[in-house]
Amino acid sequence: MIQQKLREIAKELLMKKEVDLIIGFGEGTLPLRATPIFVRDPEEAERIIWNSFCENNLATYLHKFDRFKVGLIVKGCDARSVVALNLEKRFKNNPPFLIGVPCQRMVDRRKVKKAVKGEILKVLEEDDRIIVEGEGFQVILKRDDFLYPSCQVCTHRTPVQANVLVDQPVEELPLVESHPDMDQFESKSLEERWKFFENEASRCIRCYACREACPMCYCRECFVDSSRPKWIEKGLSPSDLTFYHMVRAYHQSGRCSGCGSCERACPMEIRLNYLTQKLNRDAKELFGFEVGINPDGPPPLSTFETEDKQDFIK
């Protein structure tokens, strides 16, 4: 079983002192949640769990532990984030040791919560079913119906650059160029698209959870915090909200692994993924670059080809 194997590997790595700490998932305090844990003691490896709710992108924590040798438990998307960070030369001294888990895809806790009435007290997983229990009810749900949207379209579930894989690689979805949701959105008129974007952004409370959850947002000073130059006001005016969301997404161009952590972290359930998905698509179309697949070669926006597309330039 994956969980058991993860614990064994973690224990062994810590015993042999190959890593200083392991970052993985532990039991959350609420049902449907798993929480990131930082294991330093081999005995503590028993706290590591693996289930369908290990949704965070743990690569985010690498910045906080850059002086340590870290063993990181990664899904496919997390591994691609690590590769992307490596391209940006984030791990000069201590490249993380990647313990790759071929991902079974994660379950959207909000969808599960919406599917049942009443408070959920206990959740069990059995093969492809989720058994949700609460006071006076027990519901059996089909796991595949409750996946995260970003997981449904994931084409890289097996970690690409992992040092060890705990399981056999899973069968990947074929790479589809066209994504139905995206195509549908792009076929709308300019006004409709703007309305959708503005409407989504209007719910934002500027908590910056999307930024904090993202492994690629590691600037010492984010543009929203900078006061000189002051790029953006602190208020919640529609103009500032759209500006924030535009720039946050644009900063991900050619860097986002599409893990969906930003959207999962958002307390207001704002749709964020489609923005970075579009940028990823552009990076592929314009520069033939796919995030986290190629371990060497510079990020697309810090290099160039003399033959790049320029028909939009007068």
Partner: protein
């Protein structure tokens, strides 16, 4: 009344080595071009942070023009190539979000192309005029930024 008198405000980022000199040449050669542009001189078109463009649109301009040296002519050898990639992604992204592509324009103008500079400015002004004032994510004037409509009234 207002419709007739409205003139777009266009911000132009011109690179120091080519386009700015091109604009200068247009001036010294007495070539006419619309007075809608406000020029900011930058060291290189690769210096343009896409934030500049977005911030300009937010602060009340109706269109932005970025102009630099022709490919291969960059004073810093590759600045305009890097800028080209940034512009390409930004342009696609803005259109995806719902901001008209004509609002953010790019051009190559060399120091010898005064005529081309005036033509580019004319074209950009025409296009932005057709699109009308940008209302989409402009800050309202009570936030301390004067909107161009108010000024023109």
């Amino acid at each position: 009344m207002m419709e007739k008198s409205w003139e777009p405000k266009i911000l132009a980022f011109l690179c120091n080595w080519c386009s700015y000199a091109g604009a200068d040449l247009a001036g010294t050669s007495r070539i006419q071009y619309p007075s809608n542009i406000r020029v900011i001189r930058v060291p290189c078109s690769g210096r343009i942070n896409p934030l500049f463009i977005l911030k300009a649109l937010q602060s009340g301009v109706d269109g932005v023009l970025v102009s630099g040296c022709h490919p291969g002519d960059c004073h810093y050898l590759s600045g305009n190539y890097i800028g080209r990639r940034k512009s390409a992604t930004l342009k696609c992204f803005l259109e995806f979000l719902g901001i008209e592509g004509g609002r953010v324009q790019f051009s190559w103008v060399s120091a010898a192309e005064g005529v081309k500079f005036s033509r580019v400015v004319q074209e950009v002004t025409e296009e932005v005029k057709k699109l009308g004032p940008l209302k989409k994510f402009k800050k309202s004037s009570w936030f301390g930024v004067q909107s161009s409509e108010k000024e023109n009234e």
